[in-house]
């Protein structure tokens, strides 16, 4: 049946994204294999967040298409035409994708446990007891077993971000999107969250797309680094190569600037 199964977990095909007359991505092509961990680096405004938001369906493409696990996320066929996908088409595909945000975005009207169980119960139809057992396992994994009934606002930023990570994992995604997840944290809380993500990355077969300015973390976590500038891939390679011996001047300039700050 699945003889022509695609080897790609994520495929961007000539993706264009415009805001008004500001073209953020122009005909961007790239592919990510299942289980591959890719870090996007590049100057602010180069379109990294936009890429994650397009995948999460928080934004719509202006052109081109995106495939996830062999299915088109952005379009459906109607007759012999391709038209923008509707919510009904998107839902089962989006189920495979989870995202952790820079600002955590926990639900302030729910306690920690409820934040984690809400989507499994409401979106996947899991029985509450099962969802809670799973949520407690995840809380244990992120080191917050004793905070299940706490209100998010009573947690530190680092703890909130751990909850957000647990919440994303509770949906059992195949792809995890991380957008500068430690940028909003106090410096002393950064390593804890990074260590957690390193553990998750190495002990799972999640496909990860990660935007970060922490080059040490990027080096540890990723199989591959994509250097972006002005919505285009400037350089694509393994972290050892990109960080030690970049081929492109723009990559060198960028890395120089990041190290200095």
């Amino acid at each position: 049946m699945n003889t022509d199964e695609t080897p790609w977990m994520i495929r961007f095909d000539k993706v264009v994204k415009r805001y008004g007359d500001n073209t953020v991505l122009r005909e961007l092509d790239f592919h990510v294999r299942p289980g591959e961990r890719v870090t996007l680096i590049g100057p602010s405004g180069s379109g990294k967040t936009t890429i994650l938001r397009l995948l999460m369906t928080l934004e719509k493409v202006s052109g081109g298409l995106i495939e996830v696990d062999g299915e088109c996320l952005t379009h459906i066929r109607r007759g012999d035409k391709r038209v923008p996908a509707d919510e009904k088409h998107i839902r089962p595909i989006r189920r495979k994708i989870g995202m952790v945000f820079q600002q955590f975005n926990l639900f302030p009207n729910m306690n920690v446990l409820r934040n984690i169980t809400e989507a499994p119960v409401r979106a996947l139809g899991r029985p509450r007891a099962e969802a809670e057992a799973k949520a407690r396992e995840l809380l244990d994994m992120v080191g917050l077993a004793d905070k299940a009934l706490e209100h998010p606002s009573r947690l530190s930023g680092g703890q909130q971000q751990r909850v957000a990570i647990a919440r994303a994992l509770a949906m059992e995604p195949e792809i995890l999107l991380l957008d500068e997840v430690t940028s909003a944290l106090d410096p002393e809380l950064v390593t804890g969250v990074q260590d957690l993500l390193r553990d998750i990355a190495s002990s799972s077969d999640l496909t990860i797309l990660c935007v970060t300015h922490e080059m040490g973390f990027a080096r540890d976590i990723s199989h591959r680094v994509l250097m972006f500038d002005q919505g285009q891939i400037v350089e694509d390679g393994p972290p050892e190569k990109i960080f030690s011996d970049p081929a492109e001047q723009r990559t060198r300039d960028f890395l120089q600037a990041v190290i200095q700050t």
Binding site: L58, G98, N105, E118, A119, A123, M171
Partner: protein, 219 residues
């Protein structure tokens, strides 16, 4: 004319049983309708479909730009003959107050909904939460919490406006005070008592609303 304690004691029981019952029914009934219908209007006003949104917007504008009293008269005198809809005076008053104030609470809910950070919507999408559950489980609880003080102020407003129902023959505390005054042309005691009654309810309510405001601001 001197204040007569005897007269005050004489009328107080009736004023604060029969009159009070009507005032409270009008206020609470009107508020429940204003709070629920207002939410419905707020949601309809956000509809992407112009044929839903525009008529609702028109209705809201018309109701807001005409006096409550005109609406009460129309409900009470025009609806029965023209549309064959007959309600008791009190029910008419509750509907009038409720619909009138719904057009204001709709605006309150709108600002509350707009005030929920975008990140909340985005987290709901990222978690694949169904749209309905996003509204009922994430957005509305946060929006309503933000606007509780504003709704409280409208509750007090409805309370203070409820004596207007006298003009469609509803006898509330103030209306009853007038009737009692007409018995012996002593206006001082009944109107003072009625006025005090409104003060005694409205002032502590305003203080409570302000407290609530402060509590919500601080988390």
């Amino acid at each position: 004319m001197d204040w007569s304690w005897d007269r005050a004691w004489e009328i107080a029981p009736e004023l604060f049983t029969r009159g009070l019952a009507v005032t409270l029914q009008a206020t609470l009934g009107g508020a429940v309708l204003a709070f629920t219908l207002g939410l419905a209007l707020a949601l309809l006003l956000r509809s992407r479909r112009p044929w839903v949104r525009l008529p609702v917007r028109g209705f809201v504008e018309v109701v807001r730009s005409t006096p409550l009293l005109a609406q009460l008269f129309i409900l009470y005198y025009v609806f029965p003959s023209t549309f064959g809809i007959t309600m008791s005076a009190l029910t008419t008053g509750i509907v009038g107050l409720g619909v009138h104030y719904a057009t204001y609470t709709a605006e309150v809910y709108r600002s509350g909904i707009d005030g929920v950070p975008r990140g909340q919507w985005e987290a709901a999408v990222a978690l694949n939460l169904p749209r309905f559950r996003t509204w009922t489980g994430v957005i509305l609880p946060q929006a309503i919490r933000r606007v509780l003080p504003a709704l409280g102020n409208y509750l007090i407003g409805i309370f203070k406006e409820s004596p207007q129902l006298a003009l469609i023959t509803v006898v509330d505390v103030l209306g009853l005070a007038r009737i009692l005054a007409a018995e012996d042309f002593r206006y001082l005691e009944p109107l003072t008592l009625a006025g005090l009654f409104f003060l005694v309810i409205a002032i502590p309510s305003s203080i409570l609303v302000r407290r609530l405001e402060r509590r919500l601001e601080h988390g």
